[in-house]
Symmetry: C2
Subunit: 226 residues, 2 copies
């Protein structure tokens, strides 16, 4: 399958590595591909530059946001929350009638740790993405676990934990649920309903960042016990 | 043990029933005890009036907020979020140097279901309670599950799910953790840290109310898988 991934950070790299390894034709979208390839400094988390990662993953393509959107039959938004709307806006036409899995969280790190949210309570970033791309089928998913668990939930408790998804298009949610099960191994996926439920999964991040602090590891998740 | 419970609703009744049944000396605090006893209409959820409940529970006392605060060696705040600060303010002196378990959530039902939060993100009701009662040791707990699970977590998956607590006083958290384990049967209690972490457990309610809608039952919880 042809897949677009917006964002060159840890989440984008982890998704691209997993999906390319499964044989998918992946293009990562970035603002300025030449500048991305020229980057030689480590990222803000101390990881190697994306240029080194691209050299190590010759099968993964790199393009502009619009090029990636045109390439993908399905797209993942793995951008930071504050970069999401501008970037996706530049790929709007190329994403018409396609499914976009929105992983972004509206995290505001400007006042230190733990971050607050720059959208919350009566709105969500997921809803803003859907409004900005009215012809795209947005499914909010994967934003409640760290990058390595997204693509390999089985590494924790044999995968015995839960993922909450939401979105307005039932068919898109069925497709994404199938992809998450088959490509990544998710077992328990809870459909919360329409895209307004992104308020719930994004506000959960306020608890997630504090559990991260208390547990001293990002390798945790929650199981919905019912 | 002498225990005060602020609030006459389902949460207050459920706590009082459980703790009185365990032999504790419980007083429920309310704004106007005579008016509470005179109430004959069902509550807004269709439950019998508190007067009928009190008749069925002759061992449970009823007093003003200040009388209940004076009675209790330890207190639970089981009031609705919007009623919390005014009510606890009237009992402030009686709660000095005591532990207050704050269960309240800043839920705003005025715009319909699901509710939003009237405090969130950069503040929390737990923090406001601690600021309003600076001499009281506030422990935020139990606000992430419904009333029946609070006092009987074992009814769901044998109690194999988690409770998050927080508060500024380590000794108070140790006492509350012991009470939750011994009186109610909680097995997995995660201490998130100081009272600012109430932002996390209160904002989780935005997800909780949506899981409630999706699962069609309030009898659910989350297990922190790590």
């Amino acid at each position: 399958m042809k897949i677009a991934i917006f964002g060159t950070g840890t989440v984008g790299q982890t998704l691209a590595d997993k999906l390319a390894g499964k044989g998918h034709d992946v293009m990562i979208g970035t603002r300025d591909p030449a500048a991305t390839r020229a980057r030689t400094e480590k990222d803000s988390w101390g990881n190697p530059p994306i240029s080194a990662w691209l050299t190590a993953h010759p099968g993964v393509k790199l393009g502009t946001f619009a090029e990636a959107g045109a390439h993908g039959e399905l797209a993942f938004n793995a951008l930071a929350g504050h970069a999401t709307l501008a970037a996706l806006g530049s790929a709007q036409a190329s994403l018409a009638d396609k499914i976009l899995v929105d992983i972004s969280n509206p995290l505001d790190f400007s006042k230190g740790m733990p971050p607050s949210l720059f959208i919350a309570n009566t709105d969500s970033l997921g809803e803003q993405v859907q409004k900005a791309l009215p012809k795209t089928k947005v499914v909010k998913a994967l934003n409640t676990v760290n990058a390595y668990l997204m693509v390999d939930p089985g590494q924790l408790a044999g995968g015995d934990h839960s993922l909450m998804i939401c979105g307005d298009d039932a068919g898109a949610k069925t497709s994404v649920t199938g992809l998450l099960r088959e490509q990544f191994g998710w077992k328990d996926i809870v459909d919360l309903g329409d895209i307004t439920n992104a308020r719930g999964t994004e506000m959960y991040l306020a608890l997630w960042v504090r559990l991260w602090g208390a547990l001293k590891t990002p390798t945790f998740s929650v199981r919905v016990v019912r």
